[in-house]
């Protein structure tokens, strides 16, 4: 489904990704953990080409997407993204946020788009909030709208960039519940997250990244409970304490 091979990225002289390779099968949930600055976010952004990789390849369903003849807009339609800071369009209501892509990119009529948008908001538990502006919603509600917005485009996979780390603790669960439900429904996902409980319950595989490299990869059990590498052990111990 998603395959990354030998990915490198430099920001100026800063070598952020130093040859990252991984693959995610259809319907799988891959959780990426690692200290801040380890290149997790950049990896996600390389997959949907918000950041252009300098070296290496990103394949989506076998198609190399960081190629000159591929339009990045097309790639981003295939792979939805949920941001740490939600990034809801602040001039649009919750429903308009969800339907913008449907109408302007997929060309649905307003009626069709709104029908679908309301269904999606219903699914994330915000059916009655469709007319609210982002500033009128809590962090947790905003992030749920953002998830509905990403899912609305019927993407082949969704990328989550630390979806709960900007949230007040009281709202983390409602967002994780929505993501978990989405995983149960069979959505392919790559999640950068430090929620160990979530990683253990939902992830099919876990990847530990440090300093632009993948240090360890395996089932949640292998990486988070019985890590082999020293760096992973140190990180897990720190996060769990």
């Amino acid at each position: 489904m998603i395959r990354v091979e030998g990915l490198h990225k430099w920001f100026g002289s800063l070598h952020v990704l130093k040859g990252v390779s991984l693959s995610v099968e259809k319907g799988d949930v891959l959780v990426v953990v690692g200290p801040s600055g380890s290149g997790k976010s950049t990896l996600l952004r390389c997959i949907n080409l918000l950041v252009t990789p300098d070296k290496g390849s990103v394949f989506i369903e076998g198609v190399k997407v960081n190629a000159p003849k591929i339009r990045p807009e097309w790639v981003r339609q295939q792979v939805g993204m949920v941001f740490q800071q939600f990034n809801l369009f602040s001039h649009l209501t919750a429903l308009e946020n969800v339907t913008l892509g449907l109408r302007k990119v997929m060309g649905l009529s307003r009626e069709q788009a709104e029908k679908k948008g309301k269904e999606l908001l219903e699914r994330v538990g915000l059916g009655e909030k469709y007319d609210s502006y982002p500033a009128e919603l809590s962090g947790g509600q905003q992030q749920r709208v953002a998830i509905a917005r990403a899912v609305a485009m019927d993407p082949k996979a969704v990328l989550f960039d630390e979806p709960t780390s900007a949230l007040d603790p009281e709202y983390i669960k409602e967002v994780l519940d929505v993501i978990t439900q989405l995983a149960r429904d069979g959505m392919t996902m790559v999640v950068v997250s430090h929620e160990m409980g979530f990683a253990r319950n939902v992830a099919k595989r876990v990847v530990f990244m440090d300093d632009g490299r993948i240090i360890e990869e395996g089932t949640p059990e292998e990486v988070l409970v019985n890590p082999r590498q020293e760096r992973t052990k140190a990180f897990v111990a720190k996060v769990l304490e």
């Binding site: 807009e73 990034n87 602040s90 997929m106 009128e136 919603l137």
Partner: protein
């Protein structure tokens, strides 16, 4: 979820501001009239008689300003957009242009253009039209540069995350521009654009120096009749009649199309007690609403605001229906005044 409201300014500060403003205006105007009335009183009849003769020039002022402002808006948007681009040569060119216009006096720009056009007359224009064209172009160029700065700031005020989110739903550069960046930028640029319009309207008075017969020039000519004070009182009033409503209308539009969390925030949302009552209460320490309640008990409830029957109430209702508002729409949104029970 409640939307967050900015903290209210201390009420004493709000009230003090209004009281001070009223005092200043009353003192200045009162003082002026007093001084003039002693030696040579203001000739009100003259003002009323001559005012219509200034309406034509005033409309020329308005026309040139609106025209140059709108064309300048196109230029300004384009230049401002260029200044947000990554490609350095284009950005540098736009920046250089904007800086050289902003860094020179408008009067000098006007004279320069006037000089150029007196040597190279474009087309077969009469000298009358040529002057107007010169003034129009000078204002257009000037406001274009200033509006470029406004649009640049507006475009750059849209957070990167908004653009990334737009891209991540599959929109391209122009799609993101049209559906996300512009709608958000517009709400940021409206107040400075209004300000710029008012500045240009006033700057148009400078066109009188090259002989464009706009309001100030007409006033200058009229004042040769000897009634200097009367003439410039008229001009002052006419300029105010053009500038103040614009500011008011735009402020109203802003309030009406306000989106929570974006652009101008309402400063004062709920005021426990309203305007004049608050002032009296603050200054005197007397609870006015207590009097009010007592008066009500005796069946003497004074009319509050503008009841529908009064002239002001009627005209307000008429205005609101013309503007497509519910007749009592805005009034019913106001918080109910706090009644205190003595």
């Amino acid at each position: 979820m409640e939307s967050e409201t900015p903290p209210l300014r201390p009420r004493i500060e709000q009230i003090g501001e209004k009281v001070a403003a009223v005092l200043i205006i009353v003192l200045v105007i009162g003082g002026l009239l007093y001084l003039l009335n002693n030696s040579s009183p203001i000739d009100v009849a003259y003002i009323l008689r001559e005012l219509p003769s200034l309406l034509g020039p005033a409309s020329l002022t308005l026309l040139i300003t609106i025209g140059s402002y709108l064309v300048g808006m196109g230029i300004g948007f384009f230049l401002g957009w260029l200044r947000t681009l990554r490609f350095l040569p284009v950005r540098a060119l736009a920046t250089g242009w904007v800086e050289s216009i902003r860094g020179t006096p408008f009067l000098v720009q006007l004279y320069l253009l006037f000089a150029i056009f007196s040597f190279y007359s474009p087309g077969n224009l009469s000298s009358f039209d040529r002057l107007r064209l010169t003034g129009f172009l000078a204002m257009m160029i000037n406001t274009g540069a200033y509006q470029a700065e406004i649009f640049r700031a507006g475009l750059q005020s849209v957070p990167v995350g908004q653009v990334e989110a737009a891209k991540s739903v599959g929109l391209g550069y122009w799609g993101a521009m049209r559906t996300v960046i512009l709608p958000q930028a517009v709400r940021v640029v409206i107040p400075p654009l209004t300000n710029e319009f008012i500045l240009m309207l006033k700057a148009s008075a400078l066109l009188s120096v090259i002989g464009v017969h706009e309001l100030t020039d007409a006033a200058r000519v009229l004042s040769f009749g000897g009634k200097f004070v009367e003439v410039y009182v008229m001009v002052t009033i006419l300029y105010l009649l053009m500038t103040v409503p614009i500011a008011k209308v735009v402020a109203w539009l802003e309030r009406r199309y306000r989106i929570p969390g974006l652009g101008m925030q309402q400063e004062a949302r709920a005021r426990p007690i309203g305007g004049s009552r608050a002032i009296v209460q603050r200054l005197s320490g007397i609870d006015v609403s207590a009097f009010r309640a007592r008066a009500a008990n005796r069946g003497l409830e004074p009319s509050r605001g503008s009841p529908a029957g009064s002239w002001r109430g009627k005209s307000l209702t008429w205005l609101k229906t013309r503007l497509g508002m519910k007749a009592n729409g805005s009034a019913s949104q106001l918080p109910a005044p706090v009644k205190s029970n003595p």
